[in-house]
């Protein structure tokens, strides 16, 4: 997703004009401190929190790690089966229990209740707000209700990294005790994020040092990045209703167009064409018998930058744990395509994808040898 020009302007303004360290006491430091405080106010408002609840981090992964590792306090951890690795891997490292999702990618609330009932010391439940691969929006208020009823002592974390562009996080995550976000997912720069920590939630710091962020995240703040994140968050929240309407229409045209052109294409996890539980910015498709890596290569050549599953460190496509958790058969998952739309996506972009995707799929199918 491109960085919003207003965020770029703010980033360069702060970098050039406000070189102070916000922890200092001289005039330049105080000027930087002011920028940081303003940004904290904006993020608090957009996320439905108090300014003192916002901890700035170096991105979404750090925020997720801090929540999971910092708030689990030796108790049991429960996560959904479609969490991002930034939540899943530290949680699994703590011996986390996993609650299932249904075929649409949304958490099975009865399954969650069963997992919670089977444990005595649940300290942390983590369920993402919007899934990063298929865009399923989780019913977080209902999750919070299940957690309150079955394990009242647990805290609820939500990884809202994918959510801010599409969902009113302040409302949807009002019952969450911990909320992670990442700037580059809503038009801010990479390497900046935040964790909301509600008052009274015990959080052990992971990064220890000068005591910044009220002892919850030491290290001199990335003032310019944080200011740019706040600028992007402000604009995203202000224009969200309008953007969601526009991009939902684009996404529907894209998905419907590909489905019409490729009759056996599958819109992953969508039942009877109902996309109401999906973030506007994601179109996830599977083409049986097509290899995702080859498809991405051809799309890249046609000027369409897309993804398959998650990527490993070497850049090769790895099988998707999310699709497996949703029960998508391997032969479908192997031909998966994730087309993402954002604030800058245009009708012309959709036209280009609508031309390129069917052509690439047809070409791969025509050229495929039958394996004896």
């Amino acid at each position: 997703m491109p960085v919003r020009p207003e965020a770029v302007a703010e980033l360069t303004r702060v970098l050039t004009e406000l070189p102070g360290n916000p922890s200092g006491s001289h005039a330049a430091a105080r000027a930087a401190r002011r920028v940081l405080d303003d940004a904290r106010d904006v993020m608090a408002e957009v996320l439905g929190a108090g300014p003192g609840d916002v901890v700035f981090t170096g991105g979404g992964t750090e925020a997720d790690n801090l929540a999971v590792l910092g708030a689990s306090a030796g108790g049991s951890v429960v996560i959904s089966s479609v969490e991002h690795p930034a939540v899943r891997d530290p949680a699994i490292g703590l011996g986390a229990h996993v609650a299932p999702v249904d075929g649409t990618g949304r958490i099975d609330l009865d399954g969650l209740a069963t997992v919670l009932d089977g444990l005595e010391d649940v300290r942390l439940v983590s369920v993402m707000l919007v899934n990063n691969e298929v865009g399923a929006i989780q019913p977080l208020e209902a999750v919070a209700e299940v957690v309150r009823r079955h394990t009242p002592a647990a805290v609820l974390h939500t990884d809202a990294v994918q959510a801010l562009s599409w969902v009113d996080v302040a409302g949807a995550a009002a019952s969450a005790d911990l909320i992670s976000v990442s700037a580059h997912k809503f038009g801010g720069p990479k390497g900046v994020g935040a964790l909301v920590v509600r008052p009274g939630v015990a959080l052990a710091a992971r990064q220890i040092g000068g005591g910044q962020e009220r002892e919850r995240r030491s290290g001199t703040q990335n003032v310019a990045g944080i200011a740019a994140m706040a600028t992007a968050a402000r604009i995203t929240a202000d224009r969200r209703a309008e953007d969601v309407n526009r991009i939902t229409a684009l996404r529907d045209r894209l998905a419907d167009g590909v489905l019409a052109a490729i009759p056996d294409a599958i819109e992953t996890g969508i039942v009877a064409g109902d996309r109401s539980g999906r973030a506007a910015g994601l179109c996830h498709l599977c083409f049986p018998g097509v290899e995702a890596e080859a498809l991405l290569f051809l799309l890249d050549e046609a000027g369409v930058a897309a993804s398959a599953a998650s990527s490993c460190a070497s850049g090769a496509a790895e099988p998707s744990a999310v699709l497996a958790a949703m029960g998508v058969p391997r032969e479908h998952a192997g031909g998966s395509l994730r087309l993402s739309l954002g604030w800058a996506t245009t009708e012309a972009d959709v036209d280009r994808a609508l031309a390129a995707v069917p052509e690439a799929v047809h070409r791969l199918r025509a050229g495929k040898r039958v394996d004896a």
């Binding site: 290899e291 890596e293 080859a294 290569f297 051809l298 490993c312 460190a313 070497s314 850049g315 090769a316 496509a317 790895e318 070409r363 791969l364 050229g367 495929k368 040898r369």
Partner: protein
């Protein structure tokens, strides 16, 4: 592009010649800690060389195919007391099948690799793999499965150069891989536990008896699955006047039989899975039975090779490759 010097120079030579070149690294095996092939560090080397040359670089994940066609058969062969050659199976099923197929559907005319061998054209229009210019580095043995369809689309540009010339070229071009050490044989076994540890995680290793030609027990081994015909060491033998060699391995009875050097000599080799560059060949051929072994003359008739002079037994599972001079005619697996 494996991240080594040969494939780096291959890419450079083709780009210099004016081809539209894309670098591809195959991800076959290994996590981040793996220091062997397709480790993250090697992918980075390949990508940075491509960047330096101004080429696009892609990583293709053929891990499931590698498991199915290389690792699983490798383990099964050892379990049966045979001596597999996984590099040959990787070339057969991954580099010159899966990758060729992928390249074709993506619209590429050819796949080039950094093997030290050459593709030569013959007067009748057919092609053959021939030995590379650097004799000791020649890799024609591991490319013997290339048939006409593959040979028409495979380029081996460094086959005309010595290894020293390849390194010199890489250094001249400022490639970061210029002084990188050559890769080792079995790329997917790199841990300290080695082959034994790798196999022990996947199959039950069977302690075995070592017997002489009369059936008298003279030693023991920890795992018969790890013993190869022709082996001399690691047999738990007392010091002997005359060197002894493994003449056969029977996993079923966990028995390794040893003998003197002359007991190891065979007049014939029975062959399975014959493949040909351009149709079956019968009659006198030169025969090579290991990657850098000396070629010996023999006569091929059907699926039996008869040596001109008796030769040490070929371990079952090894590839047997037939040459006409420096050109590869085909190959097979020793039964």
């Amino acid at each position: 592009m494996s991240g080594g010097v040969d494939s780096s120079v291959t890419a450079a030579l083709l780009a210099e010649a004016g081809h539209e070149v894309h670098g591809v690294t195959l991800r076959l095996w290994g996590g981040e800690a793996d220091q062997g092939c397709c480790s993250v560090a090697d992918v980075e080397d390949a990508r940075r060389v491509a960047d330096h040359l101004g080429l696009d670089h892609h990583t293709f994940n053929f891990g499931p195919d590698f498991d199915r066609h290389v690792v699983e058969p490798y383990v099964a062969a050892h379990a049966a007391g045979r001596t597999p050659n996984p590099c040959i199976e990787c070339n057969r099923h991954l580099k010159f099948d899966r990758l060729l197929e992928r390249a074709e559907v993506l619209g590429f005319d050819a796949v080039a690799t950094g093997h030290h061998a050459r593709v030569v054209g013959r007067p009748d229009g057919t092609r053959r793999v021939a030995r590379g210019a650097d004799g000791p580095k020649d890799q024609s043995y591991v490319l013997h499965m290339l048939d006409q369809a593959a040979l028409a689309r495979v380029l081996l540009p460094v086959g005309d150069l010595t290894k020293a010339a390849v390194r010199e070229r890489a250094a001249d071009l400022g490639l970061r891989t210029a002084a990188k050490p050559d890769s080792q044989d079995v790329c997917f076994i790199q841990t300290a536990a080695g082959r034994q540890g790798f196999l022990a995680d996947r199959i039950d290793l069977t302690p075995g008896r070592v017997v002489d030609a009369t059936g008298l027990q003279v030693g023991e081994v920890e795992a018969v699955e790890l013993v190869t015909v022709g082996q001399r060491r690691g047999l738990g033998l007392r010091k002997q006047q005359e060197p002894s060699f493994v003449t056969s391995v029977d996993v079923g009875t966990a028995t390794v039989t040893i003998g003197r050097k002359e007991d190891l000599l065979d007049e014939e080799v029975a062959l399975d899975d014959l493949v040909w560059a351009d149709g079956p060949v019968a009659g006198p051929v030169l025969v090579q039975c290991s990657a850098h072994g000396d070629p010996r003359p023999g006569v091929l008739l059907g699926s039996v090779l008869t040596w001109d002079e008796a030769q040490p037994r070929v371990a079952p599972g090894q590839s047997v490759v037939f040459y006409d001079g420096d050109e590869v005619l085909g190959g097979a697996i020793a039964r």
